[in-house]
């Protein structure tokens, strides 16, 4: 192997101590035959070691102390932080943050829909072969079909900016209403689902967060539409994704 890139990769792996024995042999062979590359490698290694050694090492007592402080203030500090951040962000998501995380306790229709969304996502997210009925390759067909069944135009939002791409969608019943489910996936294999149904009372409701059994559900209403986004990500990316979707579906 003399390809420049391949050697480069081996050099970095050697510097970081993440090189296998056979790779090490390959690298040593190459360095033996190329003194100028060896010089380069040695210099980078020396600098890397210097850099690593320059990062201070905290004492274990100091770390335990910091951890204890965090444990004491974790439940208390939160409302203060939220209040401060609310001033910075647009109404929607910040308002959502203000609502305490509930475990589907309120029996409103939003909460019922969130519960339904949670159940649907939990059921389909683990499906390797058939997570969806219609794949993203047939996006137009999927959107037309679901729009017809819901009785109003629905599009699958594009979440490229957030790292998620559409896998596809399916049709589900919610009570006596039709619900559309769109499932997305990122390169980590994390999956999130957006559920939408149409024909509720004409109301607006900002983001509500529900956490239960491994999933976070964010629900909101916009006129006759009701939406829930479900996934196992943190609030931070989920809230941003919900906001992104909200913007596209207005």
């Amino acid at each position: 192997m003399t390809n420049q890139n391949a050697i480069d990769v081996l050099i970095q792996a050697a510097i970081d101590g993440q090189i296998s024995k056979s790779e090490r042999k390959q690298l040593d062979n190459h360095l033996d035959q190329n003194p100028e590359v060896f010089a380069e490698y040695s210099e980078m290694l020396r600098q890397a070691d210097l850099l690593r050694a320059s990062i201070p090492i905290p004492s274990p007592e100091h770390l335990l102390n910091l951890r204890a402080k965090a444990e004491r203030s974790a439940p208390l500090k939160q409302p203060m932080r939220m209040a401060a951040s609310a001033a910075l962000f647009a109404v929607g998501i910040a308002l959502g943050n203000f609502f305490p995380v509930s475990s589907f306790s309120a029996s409103s229709s939003t909460s019922n829909f969130a519960k339904h969304a949670h159940a649907a996502h939990s059921l389909y997210v683990t499906e390797v072969l058939h997570p969806v009925e219609v794949a993203a390759s047939e996006r137009d067909h999927l959107q037309t079909w679901l729009s017809n069944r819901l009785g109003a135009a629905i599009i699958a939002p594009k979440l490229g900016d957030t790292g998620f791409t559409l896998i596809g969608g399916r049709l589900l019943p919610t009570g006596n209403q039709a619900t559309a489910l769109f499932m997305y996936e990122n390169t980590n294999g994390d999956r999130i689902s957006l559920l939408a149904t149409h024909g509720q009372n004409d109301t607006k409701q900002s983001f509500r967060f529900h956490e239960a059994k491994d999933y976070l559900t964010i629900s909101w209403r916009d006129g006759p539409w009701q939406y829930s986004l479900v996934g196992s990500l943190d609030r931070d990316p989920m809230g941003k994704i919900a906001k992104n979707i909200h913007g596209q579906l207005i």
């Binding site: 990769v9 850099l51 050694a53 201070p56 905290p58 770390l63 444990e71 974790a74 491994d214 931070d236």
Partner: protein, 169 residues
């Protein structure tokens, strides 16, 4: 079998602090950043999936926290290492200290994607696979960013004449 949340947390505290230090380059700021990160982690504990290792999850959290809250609000402006008597004692030679100042200030000047890749591996002590996952990029991309970062640092030092001092000596 994966270790418990608490045990894993304890195991990675030191690397997390070192990562916080390398982002902020200040001991007090590193304390604050780690504490913020731990508070967030403890609040979100229920969202952590026990089948996943904790360290990459926490490191991602710290990086996001730093990017979103810290740098934006400029809570702790980056300290120049010249002021910092912060370099640990084992590095005592004057040349090394000078060179380190230059290296760290060049690290600060690296394109963000290269700096992120380098520090996740060097100071947070993540494996290439873990660091790639934190940045949501393929491993090959991560490694080429690290390679470009190191080459850039080397050429800056080569150009600075610091090595000359060293070799004359």
């Amino acid at each position: 079998m994966l270790k418990s949340f608490d045990t894993q947390l304890e195991d990675c505290l030191s690397d997390l602090w070192r990562y916080a230090w390398s982002l902020t380059r200040d001991r007090d700021a590193a304390d604050d950043l780690l504490q913020d990160c731990l508070e967030r982690a403890l609040r979100k504990r229920s969202l952590w999936l026990p089948v996943r290792p904790l360290k990459p999850w926490l490191t991602t959290m710290m990086l996001n926290l730093y990017r979103d809250d810290w740098r934006r609000n400029n809570r702790h402006p980056l300290v120049d290492l010249e002021k910092a008597g912060d370099i640990p004692a084992p590095i005592s030679s004057a040349e090394d200290r000078l060179e380190l100042q230059a290296i760290w200030s060049n690290v600060a000047k690296l394109p963000q994607e290269q700096r992120d890749a380098l520090l996740l591996v060097v100071s947070a002590g993540l494996s290439y696979a873990e660091a790639a996952k934190v940045l949501n990029i393929p491993r090959g991309t991560l490694m080429s960013r690290i390679s470009r970062a190191r080459r850039k640092l080397k050429s800056e030092i080569d150009a600075s004449g610091l090595k000359k001092i060293r070799s004359i000596k």
